[in-house]
Subunit: 311 residues, 2 copies
DNA sequence: AAGTTTAATAGAAAAAATCAATAATTACTA
DNA sequence: TAGTAATTATTGATTTTTTCTATTAAACTT
């Protein structure tokens, strides 16, 4: 007994004709006839009296067709569950994301996401942590992707991944001599750092424990909002900087030589999707989170063996 | 989406293991895995999270599996309809049948009937019309097969077929000269007739309009209860008799030469299944009737162009 | 009684389900 | 943390099932 066979007998009952029923089912008449016969065989009863025109269901046929209609109704409900779900997955999703995360994760998942959920319109804006929090509270965006913990009681954090910090050092730097480093090895004098307003600036300062430069003074200051710029400063000048590990993707061999990992427990940041406590668009945000997780390597999904930096 | 696929996902949900589920469904694990995947493809959603052990249904998977269980329940009900019906088709069916019908119809359908309904025990007894009516009223038998109409208000008649009477005449008889005959042609003197108590005797007398023999007298009387004996009397002696047409089946060519049909409207008898007004065992009796109809030629199912004889 | 409509049947082709063998993951354990 | 065991996915061959076209058989209509 198959659902198709039940559809066929319901059609025959409805149209009282094998030819008409076959047409409505988009199959040929022999196909439908054989399937009806097969069902009659498996059930062991005649469902239709074909001896006169129009064909009529037998007494037991009426009972079974009635039940078949019920079953087909239940099968429709399964499809409804899917379409209902898809409705929840349509509309706009406004996302605020911090600039130190955005370039390393969004481009990777954007294509897959819009492919998977064509009914969702993603509206992404790069903002600082502070702005994102404000907009979340005002309901101007649906979720934020940023570094946590925030200690904001009105917001809920859904941790997505843990990303280690690494040092990126020029050949001239003392750090270059070591295989693995500790925060104590860092000379604040030579470190390129993001400008104010970026939470990652605070995290990096935390790593370095806000130590004063041991000797001399910084000969110049350069303020940037972009991690990529920090990297280029090291590449084209001297000194060192701290990068999130996802920024290493796409480095060439020469650049990878400049990477120095911290000794365990490595300093790291927690990246979360942050939402209002009474949040809507659960499904869409869930989908976004899953899409991110799918792209990330497994090791980044656990807090273990790291020291998560405060903001 | 097939019922089998739904069975598979319910099994996986129940056992939380593809291997165990496959075993319970009596298929191999790859078979089950592929069908689950196919269902996931057609629905366009992941139903199970296989990334950890034991496998767990996804959020939407839970909804769909719940609905699948409902659907499978409805599919069980279809089978129940059949088994319920079969219960109604089991037990004893006591049938009373008149001797002038019994030998020509019962042997033909008996084999097919017990084949088709192995749970039914048919208990048949040959009786005269009078006895059958009595036993029906007393509930000692479930139905009677006899010639109608009876004019018994407490009984219901379900006409099954109409059987013409034909003349069976020896070479010596005047009737033998004619191709078709009329009742007026019959000479009561030479007619062999059933003895008292058989309704067919009355019907044959009605055909002959109880005419007195025109001349001479009967030199001997022979009383029999069997139509077959009447036939042999004609074969081995002289004279003529009246037979029901089903008695012609199995005659050889020489015997068929002795058959003379009446001019239209041919005299006929109505044979019915007779039951009590508030009758039980509907299904079994219905089945018996259908079995009889299946064996009978189409022309015997209609009253047309006949004159139904009273009893 | 001839022509039309309708369902059944036969045979071939396409599609699908199943299995055995094996690969890839994930979990467990020393 | 490496190695083993258990579990699910994949592959390719085989069998089963479904579907189609062409035709036959039966019932209905005129």
């Amino acid at each position: 007994m198959t659902i198709t066979q039940l559809e066929y007998i319901v059609a025959v009952d409805t149209y009282r004709s094998f030819v008409a029923a076959a047409e409505k089912c988009f199959v040929t008449q022999p196909t439908l006839s054989m399937q009806v016969q097969k069902l009659e065989d498996t059930l062991g009863v005649k469902l239709f009296d074909r001896s006169k025109q129009p064909v009529t269901p037998t007494e037991i046929g009426i009972e079974i067709i009635t039940q078949a209609r019920i079953l087909l109704g239940e099968s429709e409900k399964i499809k409804e569950i899917i379409t209902d779900r898809q409705k929840e997955l349509s509309g706009e999703l406004k996302v605020g994301i911090i600039p130190t995360v955005a370039p390393y994760i969004l481009p990777k998942i954007l294509h897959g996401f819009i492919e998977k959920y064509p009914q969702v319109k993603l509206i992404v804006s790069e903002q600082t942590t502070e702005t994102i929090i404000q907009q979340l509270k005002l309901g101007m965006i649906d979720c934020g992707i940023l570094s946590t913990p925030l200690n904001e009681s009105s917001l809920t954090e859904l941790p997505v991944f843990y990303e280690n910090f690494v040092a990126y050092v020029s050949k001239n730097s003392k750090l270059s001599k070591k295989k693995t480093i500790t925060p104590e090895d860092i000379d604040m004098e030579e470190i390129w750092i993001l400008n104010e307003g970026h939470c990652m600036r605070e995290q990096v300062l935390n790593i370095c424990q806000r130590r004063k430069s041991t000797q001399g003074f910084k000969h110049f200051e350069y303020n940037t909002g972009s991690v990529e710029t920090l990297k280029r400063m090291v590449d084209q000048n001297n000194g060192a900087t701290i990068l999130p590990e996802l920024a290493l993707a796409g480095l060439n061999d020469k650049q990878l030589d400049k990477v120095r990992y911290f000794k365990s427990p490595e300093p790291a940041r927690e990246v979360s999707i942050v939402i209002q406590r009474n949040f809507l668009k659960r499904r869409m945000i869930e989908a976004l989170k899953n899409e991110m997780l799918e792209f990330l390597p497994k090791r980044m999904k656990s807090k273990k063996k790291r020291e998560v930096m405060d903001i």
